[in-house]
């Protein structure tokens, strides 16, 4: 258990500010293109 916690701690230490910035930028861009784009693959057709 202690070993697991130590591993998680080491992993979180490796996540630096730039990783968070990249993740947030990618999230922003993904939401932008999903919001602004309107391609259709048929998807779910709403009930009438």
């Amino acid at each position: 258990m202690k070993n697991q916690i130590a591993k998680i701690f080491v992993f979180t230490q490796k996540i630096n500010r730039q990783h968070i910035q990249v993740a947030f930028m990618l999230l922003t861009l993904v939401l932008f293109v999903l919001g602004a784009g309107a391609p259709s693959d048929g998807g779910i057709n709403p009930p009438k």
Binding site: A36, P39, D41, G43, N45
Partner: protein
């Protein structure tokens, strides 16, 4: 899906370019990123969230979509100096124009739509019905700004069939360019 591929391809190309030039890839300094989250919210609630999308009227959905796209346009204005954003803006304006001109949804012709769904599903749909998430089935003669509608398709036999607009193509190009540009060496401005 095609738009997400453009981001991923741009990221890979940008990272490769940065590596070739022995220059670190930099995160695009986006301004007001929270505005995109707020702008996407009406679409998420109205179109994608099953619990709410089933009881919200089409009129309200149409208004929500136009408000959402307008907020994204504001985001583009604040980020206009970044490479590729002018392409994102152009694509967004094209989609906003055609959506606004056709009652708040992206028009798609029955002929194009028939390539995307089974004939049995198509038989249950009539002209003017909603199609997919953001589209509306409209005959070409009833469609305003038809050249901006979802009219392009990949070649027959392509494993993923999707209809897309000119605006979508330009948005994909803008997203790609924004990611690639971060891998380029920026020359210092002499003062």
């Amino acid at each position: 899906m095609i738009l997400l591929v453009a981001i991923l391809a741009g990221l890979v190309a940008g990272l490769s370019l940065a590596r070739l030039q022995k220059h670190p890839w930099t995160v695009p300094p986006l301004r007001l990123p929270w505005l995109v989250i707020i702008a996407f919210l009406p679409q998420f609630v109205n179109l994608y969230l099953v619990a709410t999308s089933t009881w919200i009227s089409d009129d309200l959905m149409a208004v929500g979509l136009i408000v959402s796209l307008t907020l994204l346009l504001v985001f583009c204005w604040f980020n206009r100096r970044l490479s590729g954003v002018w392409l994102l803006t152009l694509g967004l304006v094209f989609n906003l124009l055609v959506i606004s001109a056709n009652g708040g949804f992206m028009p798609i012709s029955p002929q194009t739509a028939s390539r995307l769904v089974l004939p049995e599903t198509m038989a249950t749909l009539a002209n003017g019905d909603r199609f997919g998430y953001k589209d509306i089935l409209l005959l070409p003669e009833q469609t305003r700004l038809i050249w901006l509608s979802d009219q392009f398709l990949p070649p027959e036999g392509f494993p993923y069939q999707v209809a897309f607009s000119l605006g979508d193509v330009i948005i994909a190009a803008g997203a790609f360019w924004l990611m690639v540009a971060q891998g380029k060496v920026v020359k210092a401005i002499k003062t």
